[in-house]
Amino acid sequence: MTIGFLLRTGPYTSQNVDTVYHLAKRFLAKGYQVRMFLYEDGVFNLAKEIQSPQERNLAGMMAELVRKGAKIRGCGTCAKFRGLKMADIIEGTKLAGIVVFSNYLKECDRFLSFGF
Protein backbone atom coordinates (compact mmCIF):
# COMPACT_ATOMS: atom_id res chain seq x y z
CA MET A 1 0.00 0.00 0.00
CA THR A 2 1.17 3.54 -0.77
CA ILE A 3 0.27 6.43 1.52
CA GLY A 4 0.48 10.04 0.39
CA PHE A 5 0.60 13.29 2.33
CA LEU A 6 0.13 16.91 1.36
CA LEU A 7 1.69 19.12 4.04
CA ARG A 8 1.14 22.87 3.79
CA THR A 9 2.49 24.15 7.13
CA GLY A 10 6.06 24.73 8.30
CA PRO A 11 8.24 23.46 11.14
CA TYR A 12 7.60 24.33 14.83
CA THR A 13 4.64 26.57 14.00
CA SER A 14 2.03 23.82 13.65
CA GLN A 15 1.79 20.24 14.92
CA ASN A 16 0.97 19.03 11.39
CA VAL A 17 4.53 18.01 10.53
CA ASP A 18 4.73 16.01 13.77
CA THR A 19 1.49 14.20 13.00
CA VAL A 20 2.71 13.40 9.51
CA TYR A 21 6.08 12.18 10.87
CA HIS A 22 4.49 9.88 13.46
CA LEU A 23 2.16 8.38 10.85
CA ALA A 24 4.77 8.05 8.10
CA LYS A 25 7.26 6.35 10.43
CA ARG A 26 4.69 3.69 11.29
CA PHE A 27 3.63 3.15 7.67
CA LEU A 28 7.28 2.71 6.66
CA ALA A 29 7.82 0.23 9.53
CA LYS A 30 4.95 -1.82 8.09
CA GLY A 31 6.72 -1.93 4.74
CA TYR A 32 4.37 0.51 3.03
CA GLN A 33 5.43 3.19 0.56
CA VAL A 34 5.25 6.82 1.67
CA ARG A 35 5.03 9.88 -0.61
CA MET A 36 5.02 13.41 0.71
CA PHE A 37 4.47 16.66 -1.17
CA LEU A 38 5.35 19.83 0.76
CA TYR A 39 3.41 22.86 -0.38
CA GLU A 40 3.38 26.53 0.70
CA ASP A 41 5.11 26.83 4.14
CA GLY A 42 5.54 23.05 4.13
CA VAL A 43 8.75 23.46 2.10
CA PHE A 44 10.49 24.89 5.19
CA ASN A 45 10.36 21.47 6.86
CA LEU A 46 13.26 20.57 4.55
CA ALA A 47 15.55 23.46 5.59
CA LYS A 48 18.84 21.75 6.38
CA GLU A 49 20.10 24.63 8.53
CA ILE A 50 17.39 24.05 11.16
CA GLN A 51 19.02 24.08 14.59
CA SER A 52 16.81 23.23 17.54
CA PRO A 53 18.75 23.01 20.81
CA GLN A 54 16.81 21.05 23.47
CA GLU A 55 13.98 20.37 21.02
CA ARG A 56 13.14 17.78 18.40
CA ASN A 57 14.81 18.57 15.05
CA LEU A 58 12.10 18.47 12.40
CA ALA A 59 14.45 18.59 9.41
CA GLY A 60 16.29 15.66 11.02
CA MET A 61 12.99 13.82 11.37
CA MET A 62 12.24 14.41 7.69
CA ALA A 63 15.74 13.10 6.87
CA GLU A 64 15.01 10.00 8.98
CA LEU A 65 11.86 9.33 6.92
CA VAL A 66 13.87 9.71 3.70
CA ARG A 67 16.49 7.22 4.97
CA LYS A 68 13.68 4.81 5.78
CA GLY A 69 12.40 5.04 2.22
CA ALA A 70 9.90 7.91 2.07
CA LYS A 71 9.91 10.04 -1.07
CA ILE A 72 9.63 13.69 -0.10
CA ARG A 73 9.43 16.60 -2.54
CA GLY A 74 8.85 20.31 -1.97
CA CYS A 75 6.95 22.58 -4.35
CA GLY A 76 9.56 24.56 -6.29
CA THR A 77 7.34 27.58 -6.88
CA CYS A 78 6.40 27.78 -3.18
CA ALA A 79 10.11 27.63 -2.30
CA LYS A 80 10.97 30.37 -4.78
CA PHE A 81 8.31 32.67 -3.33
CA ARG A 82 9.75 32.02 0.13
CA GLY A 83 13.44 32.45 -0.69
CA LEU A 84 14.33 28.78 -0.16
CA LYS A 85 16.75 27.28 -2.68
CA MET A 86 17.64 23.74 -3.74
CA ALA A 87 21.00 24.15 -1.93
CA ASP A 88 19.14 24.88 1.33
CA ILE A 89 17.29 21.58 1.61
CA ILE A 90 18.20 18.25 3.18
CA GLU A 91 19.84 15.47 1.23
CA GLY A 92 17.61 13.00 -0.55
CA THR A 93 14.84 15.54 -1.08
CA LYS A 94 14.21 17.86 -4.03
CA LEU A 95 12.18 20.81 -5.14
CA ALA A 96 9.74 19.77 -7.83
CA GLY A 97 6.69 20.76 -9.81
CA ILE A 98 3.04 19.79 -9.66
CA VAL A 99 3.82 16.94 -12.08
CA VAL A 100 5.45 15.10 -9.16
CA PHE A 101 2.44 15.80 -6.93
CA SER A 102 0.27 14.47 -9.73
CA ASN A 103 2.33 11.26 -9.96
CA TYR A 104 2.18 10.79 -6.19
CA LEU A 105 -1.61 11.02 -6.34
CA LYS A 106 -1.66 8.34 -9.04
CA GLU A 107 0.57 6.04 -6.98
CA CYS A 108 -1.24 6.45 -3.67
CA ASP A 109 -3.93 4.18 -2.20
CA ARG A 110 -4.62 6.63 0.61
CA PHE A 111 -4.07 10.36 0.67
CA LEU A 112 -4.11 12.81 3.60
CA SER A 113 -4.00 16.64 3.51
CA PHE A 114 -2.69 18.80 6.34
CA GLY A 115 -3.22 22.54 6.14
CA PHE A 116 -4.25 25.49 8.30
Binding site: T77, I98, V99, S102, N103, L105, S113, G115
Partner: protein
Protein backbone atom coordinates in the same frame (compact mmCIF):
# COMPACT_ATOMS: atom_id res chain seq x y z
CA UNK B 1 -0.46 3.47 -12.23
CA UNK B 2 -4.12 3.76 -13.05
CA UNK B 3 -5.72 7.16 -13.68
CA UNK B 4 -7.16 8.69 -10.53
CA UNK B 5 -10.09 10.96 -9.90
CA UNK B 6 -9.61 13.58 -7.26
CA UNK B 7 -11.69 16.18 -5.48
CA UNK B 8 -10.06 19.45 -4.48
CA UNK B 9 -11.98 20.83 -1.53
CA UNK B 10 -11.39 24.55 -0.95
CA UNK B 11 -12.54 25.62 2.52
CA UNK B 12 -11.00 29.08 3.01
CA UNK B 13 -11.98 32.56 1.87
CA UNK B 14 -9.74 34.25 -0.65
CA UNK B 15 -7.08 36.84 0.27
CA UNK B 16 -6.89 36.45 4.08
CA UNK B 17 -4.92 33.25 3.56
CA UNK B 18 -3.25 32.18 0.32
CA UNK B 19 -5.12 28.87 0.54
CA UNK B 20 -7.68 29.45 -2.22
CA UNK B 21 -5.03 30.91 -4.52
CA UNK B 22 -2.48 28.16 -3.89
CA UNK B 23 -5.23 25.57 -4.21
CA UNK B 24 -5.98 26.99 -7.66
CA UNK B 25 -2.36 26.65 -8.72
CA UNK B 26 -2.29 23.03 -7.59
CA UNK B 27 -5.58 22.08 -9.19
CA UNK B 28 -4.71 23.64 -12.54
CA UNK B 29 -1.49 21.61 -12.44
CA UNK B 30 -3.33 18.38 -11.67
CA UNK B 31 -6.02 18.97 -14.27
CA UNK B 32 -3.31 19.69 -16.87
CA UNK B 33 -1.66 16.35 -16.00
CA UNK B 34 -4.81 14.52 -17.00
CA UNK B 35 -6.14 13.90 -13.50
CA UNK B 36 -9.91 14.11 -13.49
CA UNK B 37 -10.60 16.89 -11.04
CA UNK B 38 -13.72 18.03 -9.23
CA UNK B 39 -13.33 21.32 -7.39
CA UNK B 40 -15.70 21.95 -4.51
CA UNK B 41 -15.99 25.28 -2.71
CA UNK B 42 -17.33 24.76 0.82
CA UNK B 43 -17.35 26.71 4.11
CA UNK B 44 -15.65 30.10 3.53
CA UNK B 45 -14.34 28.69 0.25
CA UNK B 46 -17.65 29.73 -1.35
CA UNK B 47 -16.36 33.32 -1.30
CA UNK B 48 -14.06 32.31 -4.16
CA UNK B 49 -17.13 32.21 -6.42
CA UNK B 50 -18.46 35.55 -5.17
CA UNK B 51 -18.83 38.10 -7.97
CA UNK B 52 -17.37 41.60 -7.81
CA UNK B 53 -14.03 40.85 -6.16
CA UNK B 54 -11.61 43.78 -6.40
CA UNK B 55 -8.35 42.90 -4.62
CA UNK B 56 -6.24 45.30 -6.70
CA UNK B 57 -5.73 47.73 -3.79
CA UNK B 58 -4.17 44.83 -1.87
CA UNK B 59 -1.82 44.13 -4.77
CA UNK B 60 -3.37 40.71 -5.31
CA UNK B 61 -4.87 38.89 -8.31
CA UNK B 62 -8.60 38.34 -8.68
CA UNK B 63 -9.46 34.70 -7.89
CA UNK B 64 -12.93 35.06 -9.34
CA UNK B 65 -11.30 35.28 -12.79
CA UNK B 66 -8.94 32.37 -12.12
CA UNK B 67 -11.68 29.98 -11.01
CA UNK B 68 -13.91 31.06 -13.91
CA UNK B 69 -11.42 29.43 -16.29
CA UNK B 70 -11.63 25.99 -14.68
CA UNK B 71 -13.85 24.48 -17.34
CA UNK B 72 -11.10 25.18 -19.91
CA UNK B 73 -8.91 22.78 -17.96
CA UNK B 74 -11.55 20.08 -17.84
CA UNK B 75 -12.19 20.53 -14.12
CA UNK B 76 -15.76 20.89 -12.82
CA UNK B 77 -16.53 23.58 -10.26
CA UNK B 78 -19.15 23.09 -7.55
CA UNK B 79 -20.36 25.31 -4.71
CA UNK B 80 -21.73 23.73 -1.52
CA UNK B 81 -25.08 25.54 -1.29
CA UNK B 82 -25.60 25.25 2.51
CA UNK B 83 -22.21 26.97 3.03
CA UNK B 84 -23.23 29.76 0.63
CA UNK B 85 -26.62 30.26 2.26
CA UNK B 86 -25.14 30.34 5.75
CA UNK B 87 -22.91 33.21 4.60
CA UNK B 88 -25.88 35.27 3.46
CA UNK B 89 -25.04 34.93 -0.25
CA UNK B 90 -27.32 34.01 -3.15
CA UNK B 91 -26.74 31.91 -6.24
CA UNK B 92 -27.03 35.10 -8.30
CA UNK B 93 -24.07 36.54 -6.38
CA UNK B 94 -21.83 33.84 -7.84
CA UNK B 95 -19.93 33.18 -11.03
CA UNK B 96 -21.14 30.26 -13.15
CA UNK B 97 -20.91 27.08 -11.02
CA UNK B 98 -23.02 24.08 -10.14
CA UNK B 99 -24.65 24.30 -6.70
CA UNK B 100 -24.74 21.13 -4.61
CA UNK B 101 -26.38 19.85 -1.44
CA UNK B 102 -24.79 17.77 1.35
CA UNK B 103 -26.16 14.66 -0.36
CA UNK B 104 -24.61 15.53 -3.72
CA UNK B 105 -21.29 16.47 -2.07
CA UNK B 106 -21.28 13.08 -0.37
CA UNK B 107 -21.95 11.38 -3.72
CA UNK B 108 -19.09 13.29 -5.35
CA UNK B 109 -16.76 12.20 -2.55
CA UNK B 110 -17.74 8.58 -3.20
CA UNK B 111 -16.93 9.02 -6.91
CA UNK B 112 -13.31 10.05 -6.37
CA UNK B 113 -10.17 8.24 -5.26
CA UNK B 114 -8.73 11.05 -3.17
CA UNK B 115 -9.99 14.22 -1.52
CA UNK B 116 -7.35 16.93 -1.31
CA UNK B 117 -8.30 19.62 1.14
CA UNK B 118 -7.17 23.24 1.05
CA UNK B 119 -8.33 24.59 4.38
Amino acid sequence: MEAKKVMILIRSAPYGMATAGEGFRALIGLASMGIQTHVVLADDGVLVAHKGQAPEALGMHKLEDAYSQLADFGARLYVHLPSLTKRGLLKDDCISVEFISDEKLRELIFEVDHVITFN
